[in-house]
Amino acid sequence: MSKILALVVAQWRVMVSYRTQTLLSFGGLLFTVVPLYFVAGALQPVMANAIRTEGGDAFGFLLVGTGVILVVTVALSAVPSALSSGIASGTFEALLSTPTSMPTLVTGMSAFPLVMAALRAAVLLAAGWTLGVSMALGQLPLALLILVVLVLAHFAIGLVSGAMVLAFRTAGPLSRLVLVASSLLGGVYYPTHVIPSWLQAVSAVLPLSYGLRALRRVLLQGAPFGAVSNDLLILLGETALLLLLGIATMSLAFRYARRQGTLAQY
């Protein structure tokens, strides 16, 4: 844990050394929230009926969707990006030369972007709250739990892409494919039940579909655990499977790269 924390702190220091970039990464969120507020206002009459089981408020619906996709995007790309940039910059070889296990390194290298994405999503939600989105603050712990499971599910997919980076120096199309599918069919901008039936099969396998629906119910409607337990169980099952797959492929890729002599090779 101390090693992960040290890696996170180092990345934090690097980030704050880029002052303008840091300010813009948070200040730029205003350019997301304000247009969203007006677009949601215009869409409210059209969307109200379709989203009545997920809060009924278009602004809240879009705000949660936007915040979650922001975190999910980073969860998908954190591992492959950290490995790619570590290999390209030469820092990965130095990290591998320390008596630090691969899981600790991967977690430490990718934890910081995830923490930052979560912070940005929190700022986004807080901005929405000040603009009038009604949130069940008492349900925040359950909402956080759902978010953590969602992040884990997508982090696991990122592990598969990271394994590709280790073995073949390319993340491959998996993370991008999942991101595109999740953005369009995971319920980010419209509820999944309005998707044409032949596409609902795809929507039904996406972890985001279950996580986002549960999160909106909990956060925007104050739904208790029992009301979202079905979605949460499916999400947990998918997450467990994806984590197994991600850890297995990462472990295989590590051994393959060590055999091939390409572990830290640019």
């Binding site: 924390l5 040290a6 890696l7 690097v14 320390t98 630090t100």
Partner: protein
């Protein structure tokens, strides 16, 4: 007898040869491989400064990466302090640290002290001791004043010293240095070599393995040397032993340019026909001749007397290390015969 700290036995490693698109499409599964290490065996004793000398592509870096557990060999064994490096890489990384000579492996947006504190954590230094360990090492490498400056503002020499300090955080028994003076100017390289010899090998008492293609550097720093060529160890021993193996008695003679012909005549009268002018002549009009002079000190004294008696002004008659290429050229037939 004391067990060697590093024992490498029959190490073999090959890498796939990059192929053209056409070849890959025709035979996707049939890839050729090139052997970069061919049955390398060597031993390094505790406290030794051991040099691995070889030209580019000899297999030095691959051997180092195997020792550092970053690459797995196909066959052969590697033991570091009695630990099998293939079976227990994690334990090896606690006693052996490679100095990654690439400056980019430092975090340029962090200060020197921050870089060291990060790696102190990764090497398992307790939180309360990290600051002290980083400060002590910054002092050792003479970077205390620059400790709180971003590494991006450091010179190459400062970065190289910081890379060494980073590796020393783990208090390693073995330090691997892969061409550490590659990017340094001659003055910085000289200072850095002195630092390695006096501080790292001397005061810190590290066992050091140095890979280099600079024969002068290896001979200056190392207690013992191994010469690697195309994945094969062609010789190993002390600098004196290697010179003996190579039959090396190379001397440089400096005489006035006007007396060059006379000097060559006298040398030839002693049977020394390999002497020839070196391409560089100094401004004062002196020329340096280099060649083989067997027989050690007595023979060189005799030649010196003949030259002086023959009216040749001798500026210098000194033994010089054989250039790496010549050394390998001489060692190869003997290695083949062995």
């Amino acid at each position: 007898m004391e067990q060697p700290l590093i024992r490498v036995e029959g190490l073999v490693k090959s890498f796939p040869v990059p192929r053209s698109w056409a070849a890959t499409l025709r035979h996707p599964l049939r890839g050729a491989r090139v052997e970069v290490l061919r049955g390398v065996s060597l031993e390094v004793r505790r406290g030794e400064f051991f040099g691995l000398l070889g030209p580019n592509g000899a297999g030095k870096t691959t051997l180092f990466k195997i020792l550092a557990t970053l690459v797995q060999p196909e066959s052969g064994s590697v033991e570091i302090a009695g630990i099998d490096a293939v079976r227990d890489p994690g334990a090896v990384r606690r006693v052996l640290t490679p100095v990654i000579a690439d400056e980019r492996s430092l975090n340029w947006r962090l200060t020197g002290a921050e870089n060291l504190r990060l790696f102190a954590a990764l090497y398992g230094v307790p939180t309360r001791d990290r600051e002290g360990a980083a400060n002590r090492l910054l002092d050792t490498i003479g970077l205390t004043e620059a400790a709180h400056r971003m590494v991006g503002t450091y010179s190459s020499g400062m970065k190289q010293r910081l890379l060494i300090a980073r590796a020393l955080l783990s208090r390693p028994s073995v330090l691997l240095l892969d061409e550490p003076t590659r990017s340094l100017d001659p003055v910085s390289a000289r200072d850095f070599r002195r630092f390695l010899r006096e501080e790292i090998a001397g005061r810190q008492g590290c066992t050091v393995m140095l890979a280099t293609h600079d024969a002068d550097e290896a001979l200056e720093l190392c207690d013992r040397l191994a010469v690697l060529h195309r994945g094969r160890l062609v010789a190993q021993g002390t600098a004196r032993e290697l010179a003996g193996i190579a039959g090396e008695h190379r001397y440089r003679l400096s005489v006035p340019r006007a007396q060059e012909g006379r000097a060559l005549q006298i040398l030839a009268s002693h049977g020394l026909t390999t002497f020839a002018p070196l391409p560089v002549t100094d401004e004062a009009g002196w020329v340096s001749l280099a060649g083989d002079l067997p027989g050690g000190m007595p023979a060189s004294a005799e030649v010196m007397q003949s030259l002086v008696a023959g009216g040749v002004s001798v500026g210098e008659l000194a033994q010089v290390p054989l250039p790496l290429a010549d050394l390998i050229e001489r060692l190869l037939p003997q290695a083949d015969a062995a």
